[in-house]
Symmetry: C2
DNA sequence: TTGTAAGCGTTATCAT
DNA sequence: ATGATAACGCTTACAA
């Protein structure tokens, strides 16, 4: 799949010829192994003259640890702002070490997750950061045995023991409940995402309120709107709503607007949204810190690569309630 | 940087031994070269028994075209929703071909752009999709000569001839002007991003209105807010505002709210924002199509890799005005 | 310190 | 159609 009359890229052999030294000496210079300064100078000259760049793939092939100085990152969707922030967190840490990142979207499909993980692995990544879609990660056992570091992000691994970095989902929703109760609410509704998702389950667990006021498996904005509407139009309707996910929050917002209740029903959403402070009222949210999620994940990965073989760790990143108005509305 | 007592990954040699065939035959089977069905069967068995996966780096090393079936993607910032959508567009096309993607953020820094491009190239990518930060891309000439396909996204290449995929910045702003004029506006202000940016310049060019009502180089939300405020408090203030960028739009929104004029001054923003239809009034925007930008870029890349050597192409992706209220406010 | 040569896992060439 | 073997660009014993 590569075309055209290509100008051959200069190799170490070319550099060696120009500098008048052996191939091994060039390798030493390129890898900062002490070499006679005079020879090193000649090599550097040849390198710049020829525009030589070491072939990373070939280098890793023979290297003792087979390291490629690259990581694989599997997200639900690279274009989802939450996950792309995780991506950036990982990139920031990897960049400090000159490590490159392969990234891909699983679209919450276990097979795609597996394909991506194995493809990345076939390309020789040193580590894999995975937002898991599947529920059985035993297939990664073999990769780990071959030396690939593993970390799971946002959701824990299943059927395998490995490091994980998670948001404090339970604590976040608990804080929201406490916040609403402090404002005087006694009937609080909870609208959640697909119950099979780890995060959705955790957030529901943090709610712990009246099961009659819970609606789960709201997979679309429309479903969330419909569920919110039903809850709010029923007798003994809740005076406040907690939404377990962004899409659900937006659906609930639609319902509130349609019923003209955006100023009278309290609302707290999980996960921050852009422009949350421009809505009227401003949107109170339980904010996560996806950048921190990514940074911690990358740090765990590098710790493992540097030889840390302590038992699998689980890092929980705090969530934070941001009051902007919608969550401070008092019951009628 | 790789650690622990690693279980050696099975190689073709191992597969050959188990299947009782030669190394070359295994390679043929793995690469779908016709082979006696009986032998092929034995090989496939051995492959699954051992959990063999071909080493992509080693394969590329010896392959005639040196292809690695990977692409490099350099964005301003992977966590910026606009660019992460471009990323997804590229991924969707690459996935169809089983091509993996390295991605990285340049933070609009020419040196970082160059570092990333050369690192990706050193890792053997077949092509490079670049949202350019620098203003001199001659350094990529050598990579292209070595067979690396090139495409520029969102902003054109400089000092090098190469394919590019751009948004219709000029047309978008023109449409906004026409839209506001149709609503009766005669004094329209324009708030723009840093003038040195290609997109900012194009959008200003599309405006073409009264220079006295133009404020450029609004690099922060605060600067935009301040500029909007000054424009609106001056004698002979504009009755409508066009904002050349997201951050600027948000700053202007702040100013409008602070002055209590969000219901009386018309506003059109460039680039869509999440929740734009929940603001009151809803936010009228000139929407871009970042996914299409990415898809076109990837298609150009693959066309080049498949041998297309026609002159450099420039694809312009249309923008679209989405009316949600703020742009339909009539002058007082 | 420097050079020689073997070898990493694969593909490609050449006989058979 | 299959197998032996050289070669890809590099790192790394081992020798000098």
């Amino acid at each position: 799949m590569k075309s055209g009359a290509a100008t051959r890229r200069p190799t170490m052999k070319d550099v060696a010829a120009v500098a008048g030294v052996s191939l091994a000496t060039v390798s030493r210079v390129v890898n900062d192994v002490p070499v006679d300064p005079q020879l090193a100078g000649r090599v550097h000259d040849a390198v710049t003259r020829l525009g030589y760049r070491r072939d990373a793939a070939a280098a890793g092939l023979r290297r003792a640890n087979r390291s490629s100085r690259s990581l694989g990152l599997i997200l639900d969707d690279v274009s989802n702002p939450f996950f792309s922030a995780v991506h950036r967190g990982i990139e920031d840490i990897a960049r400090e070490r000159g490590v490159l990142i392969f990234s891909g979207s699983s679209d919450d499909d276990a097979d795609l997750e597996r394909d991506l993980a194995l493809s990345f692995s076939a390309h020789g990544v040193d580590g894999l950061a995975v937002v898991p879609a599947g529920h059985d990660h035993r297939y990664l056992e073999r990769e780990r045995a071959a030396g690939v570091a593993l970390v799971f992000v946002d959701r824990p691994p299943q059927r395998i023991l490995a490091d994980a970095v998670l948001s404090d989902n339970v604590g976040g929703v608990r804080a929201a409940v406490a916040h609403l109760e402090a404002a005087g609410h006694r009937r609080i509704g909870f609208l959640g995402d697909r119950a099979r998702l780890f995060t959705a389950g955790e957030r529901l667990a943090g709610f712990g309120g009246d099961p009659a006021l819970v609606r789960m498996d709201l997979a679309s904005c429309e479903a969330a709107q419909q569920a919110a509407r039903e809850l709010l139009e029923a007798a003994d309707a809740p005076t406040a709503l907690i939404c377990g996910q962004n899409r659900v929050t937006i659906g609930a917002l639609h319902a509130l607007h349609a019923l003209g209740r955006q100023g009278t029903t309290a609302l707290v959403g999980f996960d921050d949204v852009a422009l949350g402070d421009f809505l009227s009222p401003g949107l109170t949210v339980i904010a996560q810190d996806p950048f921190a999620l990514g940074r911690h994940a990358a740090e765990l990965l590098f710790a493992r690569l540097e030889g840390d073989d302590s038992p699998p760790r689980r890092i929980v990143v705090p969530t934070r309630l941001i009051a902007r108005g919608s969550g401070e509305i008092r019951p009628a």
